[in-house]
């Protein structure tokens, strides 16, 4: 963007300090007595977060409580931050399942590719932001933790409905 040099043409007789100060005082007084404040009283009040909010992950489960994941390996492949560690296993009927499924939430950039690429709609990003922990280890979410999460999941962007209406 080009810089436009503007030269002020206001005559000096129109400038004031004392009168302008009183005008300013009136304006600040109006805000002082205005009961509408923009601050949210955080722990008691919370903003509604958007349906496409991308927060910490959640692994959805089948009716019998097992993770939906089939250990296809697409999410660790697509992950640009390389934060998903997946070790596949196979049971007696030849169904694949994850032996290890760790997500390092510190490395994660919350792009949502893993949710987009997942053929089973198993891994999801969550609509959630309160993630504080006391140590760094706790930010590596294992399969148990991912399935135990209960917060609502992120809705991916739908090209047919770009504004999410």
């Amino acid at each position: 963007m080009a810089i436009k040099v503007t030269v002020c043409e206001r005559p000096i007789s129109e400038t004031s300090y004392v009168r302008a100060t009183f005008k300013g005082l009136a304006l600040t007084l109006k805000h002082l007595v205005d009961p509408h404040k923009v601050t949210v009283q955080y722990p008691e009040e919370k903003w509604d977060i958007g349906p496409r909010w991308r927060g910490t992950h959640r692994m959805l489960t089948t009716e019998d409580g097992k993770a939906k994941c089939v250990a296809c390996g697409l999410c660790p492949t697509v992950c640009p931050a390389n934060c998903i560690k997946l070790v596949p296993g196979e049971d007696a009927e030849g169904n694949r399942y994850p032996l290890v499924f760790d997500i390092d939430e510190f490395r994660c950039i919350f792009c949502g590719y893993c949710q987009e690429v997942c053929p089973e709609e198993a891994i999801h990003l969550g609509r959630h932001y309160e993630n504080a922990e006391y140590d760094r280890k706790s930010f590596v979410y294992d399969l148990e933790r991912l399935t135990a999460q209960t917060h609502p999941v992120c809705e991916m962007w739908d090209p047919a409905d770009p504004k999410g209406e």
Binding site: V7, E9, T39
Partner: protein
Amino acid sequence: MMHHTSLLLQVASGQLPPTMGWFVIFAIIKMLVAFGIYLVCVAYTTFAERRIAAWIQDRHGPNRVGPQGIFQVLADGVKNFMKEETLPGGANKVMFILAPALAFIPSLVTWAVIPFASPLPVPGVGLIDMVVANLPIGFLFTLSISSLGVYGLTIAGWSSNNKYALLGGLRASAQMISYEISMGMSTVCVLLLAGNVGLNEIITQQASQGWNVMLLTMAFFIFAVSSLAETNRVPFDLPEAESELVAGYHAEYSSMKYSMFPIAEYANIITASSLMVTLFFGGWDIPFTSWDNLPPWTALKTVLTMGLYVGKVMFFVFTFIWLRWTLPRFRYDQLMSIGWKVLLPMALVYITVVASLTLGLDAAGVVRTGMGFKAAMLGMNLVFVGLVFWVLDRGRIVSPAFSRIQRAEIAHLRAVSERSDLSNQQGT
């Protein structure tokens, strides 16, 4: 005159000053109580500043510690005492440690001579003055002590061995010396009317003649602006201008030593507000009645006048805070030109006008307490206010940045700006 009548009435009602022993005992009690309350008020002014700042900016402010955050000041105090204290390697250790105290003490001492209520009769003891030290030269005392405040800031800046702190200290000394003069000059008018330098006498005079803000409006205006500059408050906070000088004179301070500077600032605000109230708004005087100014003194009178005094001071403290969150900071050249080219000549002209007018009215036989005197002073002030706000305040009080550009130069600048590559790229 009023003063003599009140003295006669005082003798007649048998309300006499206490003996020496009681005087000392009550002086100690007054010191402890008054300064205890004063320090609590200073602490709560910091809280008031944070809440009012927040409200002006459509926020809530600190409201978590205790109901509506009223214990925030205690939390801040504990925090400041627990914090790590640093001492810069190149600092002058003695001066560095001394400076916060030097900044704080003058404002505390000034407050000792300000009367805050009508005298309190104590049975069996006598009449106790509601002022910590009833100095007959009270006003001169405040002037001399308030000029000492600059030492704290200058020494803090100089001893820190930091270029920003030094610049802040230099600015503080230049600014406070400049505004000290117009501040002193504006109060000369008060002395002209009161004919006395005792603060209690100035209050008595205002009770009989009407408040000085009506009689000496411009003196009040000059005094108010100068005390903003003396307390280093926005728009005169150049000594600590954080956008240019990191934190100015207290850049190197930490922990409670840092905290002493804000405390000194708020103590100065309360002291300046008390002085404004005492010199121009009748001190503890209740307007429209002389009931509170005449003996016999009662405890009820003391309580009511003290309440009104506190109310007046609180209003001015609020105004200081309100102004801070309204106005931007001056440029340095603006600051100096306001002090030397506007306020000082204005104060000198005003002294001459007030002196000639009172001399003329006295010579014409107009009684000072009468309506004629008040009307004449009020008329003179209206003319002055009109001159300042409608004639002088047209780019002459605070000159905007473009004021030094000539009209011909503006056309030239515009031509250059239109020829330049930068503006031709607009919209391409």
